[in-house]
């Protein structure tokens, strides 16, 4: 095997950073990723050869893997790419910019630790100090905020094609800062880049003060962003994924049932008093199993098997919640209010019944009313009788069975649901409990 390399990556010991690139169509997302991969020497020879046409390298072709994407020159669905630098392992979700495929951007964002929002300087009225950002820049930024993506970096791209890049960057950065302040968005950094030329992506720009910027390159930033921490500080919550009944086994008592699942928040400890939701029954944790050991406790983010000290009715879809203190304040309700990001081509209609999935439980959910729709330009709340594809709104749902939820702002696990169309079975909406 050929092993000629100048700088081999070393494997990292930390969990990978999952980040997405998003923004409007043709803002250069695929090119940016191509640049990150090529300049950090993460592209293998045969892949690089595959994107060279008449001696020119088209970086976008590295990620646009579907024939329909190459035909149309747009990204339709998320491509996941993996690469290492000397210090870190990365998973990139290259999300499409086209409004029609916002659902795929939301897919990538829901599991991301960070997002790079690309802003195409050539599409903006950059000479104007009051310039207006593109709709998709706003929409994507709002979705990142709603989904609680922890780190957001704006990368202002194509500044190499602008005659006064310093003025353009200053004005665009100001517009982004103002929009972020209005929308309540925390921005980690705003970086001027040229994905095409490779400036400030992996290597610094040739001119050290290009656009009057002397901060870190995009890759420097990515190497230092935090991975989303598990919600260990919250009271324990545990969605029951699978119930296994042992007829006899050495690691559990005779006939005992084990409730498998992934600890969503807090830490599940032997002796913990739990309330089964939605039934409200009580029990104590007798044993905590994971796949290898028989530990005393298992923290959020890890899978565990829970054995309770008494026979209570527990099935897939139930939650085990900490009893006592804060955990007891959570009650199962038959209605919820939530922000919804609508992802289906069919509009959301008030009065219709959908399936809702919460943890591992499916319940029927009827849209009681659309409280308002968000105008993504002004952030104003408007009246609406339906939500068209890619709209963001606020709705009230009546549930066929009660659910114990928390606001998404407090708990991703207890506050997130998806809505599924009962006829087409399409995943139609992302619900974030208010």
């Amino acid at each position: 095997m050929n092993t000629t390399v100048s700088s081999p990556p070393s494997a990292d010991t930390r969990p990978a950073l999952k980040f997405i690139t998003c923004g409007s169509v043709d803002d250069g997302k695929s090119t940016l990723i191509g640049r990150l991969l090529v300049d950090s020497k993460a592209v293998l020879q045969d892949h690089l050869a595959g994107v060279q046409r008449q001696g020119e390298t088209d970086l976008a072709l590295l990620t646009d893997g579907l024939s329909a994407e190459r035909e149309q020159g747009i990204t339709i669905d998320v491509a996941y790419r993996y690469f290492n630098t000397e210090t870190r392992k990365f998973i990139i979700g290259d999300a499409p910019g086209h409004e029609q495929y916002t659902r795929n951007m939301v897919t990538a964002a829901s599991s991301a630790d960070a997002a790079v929002v690309l802003v195409d300087a050539t599409k903006l009225d950059w000479r104007n100090a009051d310039l207006k950002l593109l709709a998709q820049t706003r929409r994507h930024s709002l979705l990142l905020k709603l989904l609680r993506v922890p780190s957001i970096v704006f990368a202002v791209n194509k500044l190499d094609a602008i005659e006064d890049p310093t003025l353009a960057f200053t004005h665009i950065r100001n517009a982004l800062t103002e929009f972020a302040a209005t929308a309540g968005l925390t921005v980690t950094a705003t970086v001027p880049v040229s994905a095409l030329k490779g400036w400030n992506v992996v290597e610094a720009a040739a001119d050290a003060h290009w656009c009057s910027y002397s901060g870190p390159t995009l890759l420097d930033l990515l190497e230092h962003l935090p991975v989303t921490p598990a919600d260990v500080s919250l009271p324990v919550s545990f969605p029951v994924q699978w119930v296994e009944k042992f007829s006899s086994s050495s690691d559990t008592s005779q006939g005992r049932r084990v409730f498998w699942g992934r600890v969503a928040t807090g830490e599940m400890t032997v002796g913990q008093a739990v309330k089964v939701m939605p039934s409200g029954l009580s029990a104590n944790v007798a044993q905590v199993l994971d796949h290898a050991r028989n530990p005393k406790s298992v923290a959020a983010g890890h899978s565990a098997g829970i054995v309770l000290d008494r026979e209570v009715d527990v099935s897939r879809g139930d939650w085990l919640l900490a009893a006592g203190g804060e955990g007891d304040t959570l009650t199962a309700e038959r209605s919820i209010r939530a922000t919804v990001a609508w992802l289906d081509d069919e509009p959301l209609v008030a009065g219709r019944v959908y399936w809702a999935l919460h943890g591992h439980r499916w319940v029927k959910a009827k849209v009681q009313r659309i409280v308002h729709k968000l105008d993504i330009h002004t952030l104003a709340e408007e009246e609406a009788t339906q939500l068209e594809p890619n709209a963001i709104g606020h709705i009230e749902l009546a549930l066929q069975e009660p659910l114990a939820t928390r606001p998404f702002a407090e708990s991703r696990a207890l506050g997130a649901l998806v809505l599924v169309d009962t006829a087409s079975h399409k995943t139609s909406g992302a619900l974030l409990v208010a």
Binding site: T4, P8, T13, L44, H47, G65, A79, R412, V420
Partner: protein, 314 residues
């Protein structure tokens, strides 16, 4: 190995014990394997005896325990497998006390549902037909596979829970959004899911995990002597099914396989790596992708994998 490589990288111990990221991958895989057990009525795990499916089996062993894997293992046999791999598959299934179902492309050929354009055509792509026949026979509603997103550009677009219509087709433009770990597993009659629990693993992760977990593999993955011919940069193994052509020079070289599929379209790479640790080092410095260096059948067109997946291929 190349002398220019920083000697620090070649130190064995530290970078191999990269537990945090392997733990995270293992955790995700176990979660998905259990979700399939809970959410579907008739799932099966596609098992070829190759390294990716052996990694999945180790995770299944951790998720369920020996003798408790709650779904059968399914192998679609082209009849052109390396005998070492088939033997290994049977051995491992036995050790895990798992039910093993084998369905043969040759049976589909006898039934007339698979027609070859010419007798020595690779049968890899025809596995789709036999697979869909097996799905219908057993009414499987979910098939777990060991495909990884780092393998190929069409794979990079695949969801973890990937919906298939009643013709087994993948519809890349209409994939369901996949939010958080709330997997929409709803199906209409005749439809099924393909589920990929090791989507986020890379070739390097797989080898690091094999090393860490001490997973036994078919010997062909490690360096051995083999007669090969160099055909446009690929080392084609000389076998009964793939004889040397007139004028080709047969050489006996030190090789290993990075992937193991149908004999007629799988090539080894030159290597002296004889342990997982040595393969990890080679993988860290590889310049050609796993498929680029080993698969003849992916090279036909830029979109050959996508086309095959639309036809029901894994």
């Amino acid at each position: 190995m190349n002398a220019r490589i920083d000697s620090a990288v070649l130190q064995p111990a530290e970078h191999h014990l990269s537990n945090a990221h392997l733990d995270a991958l293992e955790e995700e895989t176990i979660f998905i394997l259990r979700e399939v057990a809970a959410a579907f009525e008739r799932p099966a795990l596609l098992f070829s005896g190759g390294k990716d499916s052996l990694v999945m089996l180790r995770c299944a062993e951790k998720a369920f325990g020996v003798g408790r894997i709650p779904y059968p293992l399914l192998m679609i046999d082209t009849g052109h497998n390396f005998p070492e791999v088939t033997a290994f598959r049977d051995l491992r299934a036995g050790e895990l006390q798992a039910e093993l179902i084998v369905r043969n492309v040759e049976d589909s050929m006898r039934r007339g549902t698979v027609r070859l354009a010419h007798p020595d055509e690779p049968r890899n792509a025809h596995q789709s037909v036999t697979l869909l026949e097996a799905i219908e026979e057993f009414r499987f509603d979910a098939l777990i596979g060991g495909a990884r997103r780092d393998e190929e550009k069409a794979r990079a677009k695949e969801r973890i829970f990937s919906h298939r219509d009643s013709f087994g087709q993948w519809q890349p433009k209409a994939q369901r959004p996949e939010l958080w770990t709330l997997f929409n597993t709803r199906l209409a009659p005749g439809e099924h899911f393909r589920v990929f629990p090791i989507s986020n693993w890379t070739e390097l992760d797989v080898w690091q995990y094999i090393e860490r977990e001490n997973i036994a593999l078919p010997s062909l993955y490690y360096s051995h002597k083999r007669d090969v011919v160099d055909r446009r940069g690929l080392l084609v193994p000389v076998t009964e099914l793939t004889p040397a052509k007139d004028g080709e020079k047969v050489e006996n070289r030190d090789v290993r396989f990075r992937t193991l599929g149908d004999v007629t379209c799988t090539c080894p790479v030159e290597s002296s790596a004889a342990t997982p640790e040595q393969i990890v080092l080679e993988t860290l410095t590889a310049e050609v992708s796993e498929r680029g260096s080993t698969r003849m059948d992916d090279k036909t067109s830029d979109a050959s994998m996508e086309k095959r997946k639309k036809d029901g291929y894994f």
